[in-house]
Homo-oligomer: 246 residues x 2
DNA sequence: CGGTGCTTTGAGTTTGTTCAACTACCGTGG
DNA sequence: CCACGGTAGTTGAACAAACTCAAAGCACCG
């Protein structure tokens, strides 16, 4: 009797950092071969998350950070009485959970937007290993620093940009992230619903929908459901960055 | 001839972490006495900044982080064409410049709001020392993580809260930061102009002014120029957190 | 097929902005 | 000491961008 696909995978093809296609983007990016195997040893592989499943819930005790291997996730924070706030989308190679280090619990839930696999990196081990491997430590500092920088950009978007600029920025940023990962920057599929986009950008769903329609009628993008084609990238970039004319 | 005050200070009273009143809040907070002196050795003291002076400018090469010793600062990012975005205020014991680690230049200018002294901590040395002192490393991770968490809260404020809620949140947050530093949480002086508050909160100056007036007429706070007295803290907290009634 | 959830579109409303004028405050120089 | 000028803050009125509410269209799935 032939072994099942999943059995075969766990025997012959257990994922390893050394063979991971994301190695040039992910945390161990600065490490030597021999150090990567040390890093690899502390990683815990996880069963894939199905769409809608949570990687962890808000308030749960912090123990690990996670590197996205495939798929995508959203981070949602529900503060007190108010409704939820979607604070981030995560794509492959990105690090999830860094904001839980300080008070040792996760400040938001992280939920898969599609079938998603992650590598779990127990923070205690990561910290210990970062003592021995200066490059790893540096990379960890850089990851957090980058996230801080991205947050500042997001604040600017939320406090100064018009709805059109927000959507244009959202699309160009996504496009760029796909490009870096080797996918087409012009044609991609949104893994999140309109409601998620609206929540993330501080806009009503209806506004998101309306603006996408307008961008489409202006031949800047072609949108069909969650499929996006960017037809006029320079124009989209201009829209994203232009100062509000008064 | 008696020596001058400044001479006396530099001789007998050179500031040191061991005697700093902020030691329970600042980076070395988790260190043993003997380790603090190691940390102290890498710190560079700086001449005080005058109001309006920049600690560093956007785009300058990143080399150090800074701990605020006294006074306060604002971080301003001017992205491309658009106008400036004020992304943060810094109070004593807080760490400035962490968002510059990643791409090795400061992503925003940091400017003193009043006479301000800082301790400069060369990052290269900090990183090296963090290899030897796990507590220091942990504290650094926690500082960055906390800033990430605060950023998420700010995003929620900018994308979901009404102008009144924003002002109320701003005041309660400031109040809390003063409390932690041993100052009165009820009565304090704003070191920033109304324009700064508006820029930070994503509101027009006029809106800030109007809402402060309204809060005053409702006996929640008493505001006179930059002096603030919180008269009804529970009410202010309610205003800051309440869900928008529909 | 019928339902359920997501998306789009339309119409009226609201919150906060913009523009404009006025006031208070503070340091400077006559 | 007071007049002056400039900056910072306040207030009012009209306007606009995005929201809410409502309803219709679509697509996927059992």
């Amino acid at each position: 009797m032939p072994i099942s696909a999943s059995q075969r995978r766990s025997l012959a093809q257990a994922p390893r950092c050394q063979t991971c296609s994301l190695s040039s983007l992910c945390l161990p990016l600065a490490l030597q071969i021999e150090d990567i195997s040390q890093f690899d040893a502390i990683i815990r592989r996880r069963a894939p998350l199905k769409k809608g499943e949570a990687l962890f819930h808000q308030g749960e005790r912090f123990s690990s950070v996670f590197a996205v291997r495939s798929g995508s996730l959203k981070q949602v924070t529900s503060e007190g009485n108010g409704e939820d706030q979607l604070t981030n989308f995560y794509l492959p190679s990105e690090l999830v959970g860094l904001d839980g280090i300080d008070d040792e619990c996760y400040p938001g839930s992280v939920v898969a937007l599609e079938t998603t696999t992650v590598c779990e990196i127990p923070f205690k081990h990561l910290d210990a290993l970062s003592e021995q491997l200066p490059e790893l430590r540096g990379q960890l500092y850089r990851s957090m620093s980058k996230e801080l920088r991205d947050d500042r950009r997001m604040m600017r978007l939320l406090s100064r940009k018009t709805a059109d600029q927000r959507l244009a920025t959202f699309l160009t940023t996504l496009s760029d992230r796909f490009r870096r990962r080797g996918y087409s920057p012009y044609s991609f599929r949104l893994s999140m619903a309109r409601a998620d986009i609206g929540n993330y950008l501080g806009l009503a769903v209806e506004t998101v929908s309306r603006i996408l329609s307008r961008l489409q009628s202006q031949q800047v993008v072609a949108v069909s459901g969650r499929e996006v084609n960017i037809l006029d990238m320079p124009r989209l970039i201009t829209l994203a960055d232009e100062e509000t004319p008064t």
